[in-house]
């Protein structure tokens, strides 16, 4: 019998937490993810099915929506669905069933590492990290951008709470970039 220990994207047994001058960067390992790409000709049905799954209007360009199961826009006719891993380990299966053939669904859980920023002065950190127009970003925004040449998603939950998704294989580099920007900006 193997005795395997679950580790986070940064390799620890506990999520890494860094606090600098009132802004906290928290590693968030407990997320289930699935990507949804509408099939040709099924775009409208896909939007409806996804809205039913997240129990909210399907997010428009550059937006996220939902509660326990939420989704964010990742490209034309494409979304990423996210939910707590504890309660939705089978999120891709659940999403595939809900989309009922209107979209291609791919499991993305653990393909991505997530870091949450919370605090009052997050925008001064983000303006060092990415090229997004922060004046246009408000609660509900979800954008893809490049952070230190790493393709990331930046979600604004509230102006005091952002989530950053980056590829798990670059989690260390992304974390280094975020913490360096926090030290520099705050």
């Amino acid at each position: 019998m193997h005795d395997l220990v679950a580790i986070t994207a940064l390799g620890g047994t506990e999520p890494r937490v860094d606090t600098i001058a009132g802004v906290t960067c928290t590693e968030v390992p407990g997320v289930a993810l699935a990507s949804v790409a509408a099939r040709l000709g099924e775009e409208a049905n896909c939007v409806k099915a996804l809205g039913d799954l997240i129990e909210a209007p399907t997010p428009e360009v550059g937006q996220w929506a939902g509660a326990t199961i939420s989704a964010f826009w990742s490209g034309p006719d494409q979304w990423m669905v996210e939910a707590p891993f504890e309660s939705h380990e089978d999120l891709p299966g659940q999403t595939k069933a809900a989309m009922a053939g209107t979209a291609s669904v791919t499991e993305q859980t653990d393909g991505w590492a997530r870091f949450d920023l919370s605090g009052d002065n997050i925008s001064s950190v983000l303006e060092l990290l990415c090229q997004l127009d922060l004046r246009k970003i408000s609660a509900g925004s979800a954008d893809r951008c490049s952070i230190h040449h790493i393709g990331c998603f930046v979600l604004c939950r509230t102006p005091e709470h952002f989530s950053i998704y980056g590829p798990r294989s670059s989690a260390g580099s992304l974390h280094h970039a975020i913490v360096t920007a926090m030290r520099s900006a705050l």
Binding site: G75, P76, Q131, K136
Partner: protein, 95 residues
């Protein structure tokens, strides 16, 4: 240079990568009689206009969509930006 993305609005050109002439969308029919000649032309021959030029750009550091950008090669003025899939479908592709 700023590219006005049709979905996301104005974005810096550094977020994009350039592929080349948008004529690449018009891939020849491989079963046609003259396929060899058509593919030679498709693969190797390009117009090099001074003036308006349609180009394929990829929003790599963004939503990863392919765009057809109409750019004036003399002034660098960008007069039109479209999603490449819309252009391709308008030309009868992906049906």
């Amino acid at each position: 240079m700023i590219i006005n993305h049709p979905l996301l609005g104005p974005r810096d050109a550094s977020e994009f990568t350039y592929l080349g002439d948008a004529a690449l969308i018009d891939r020849p029919d491989w079963q046609a009689e003259n396929a060899a000649d058509a593919f030679y032309e498709y693969g190797y021959l390009r117009d090099n206009p001074s003036g308006e030029h349609q180009e394929l750009w990829y929003h790599e550091a963004g939503d990863r969509s392919w765009l057809v950008v109409t750019r004036n090669t003399l002034t660098h003025e960008i007069s039109k930006v479209e999603l490449a899939r819309d252009v391709a479908r308008a030309r009868g592709r992906s049906k």
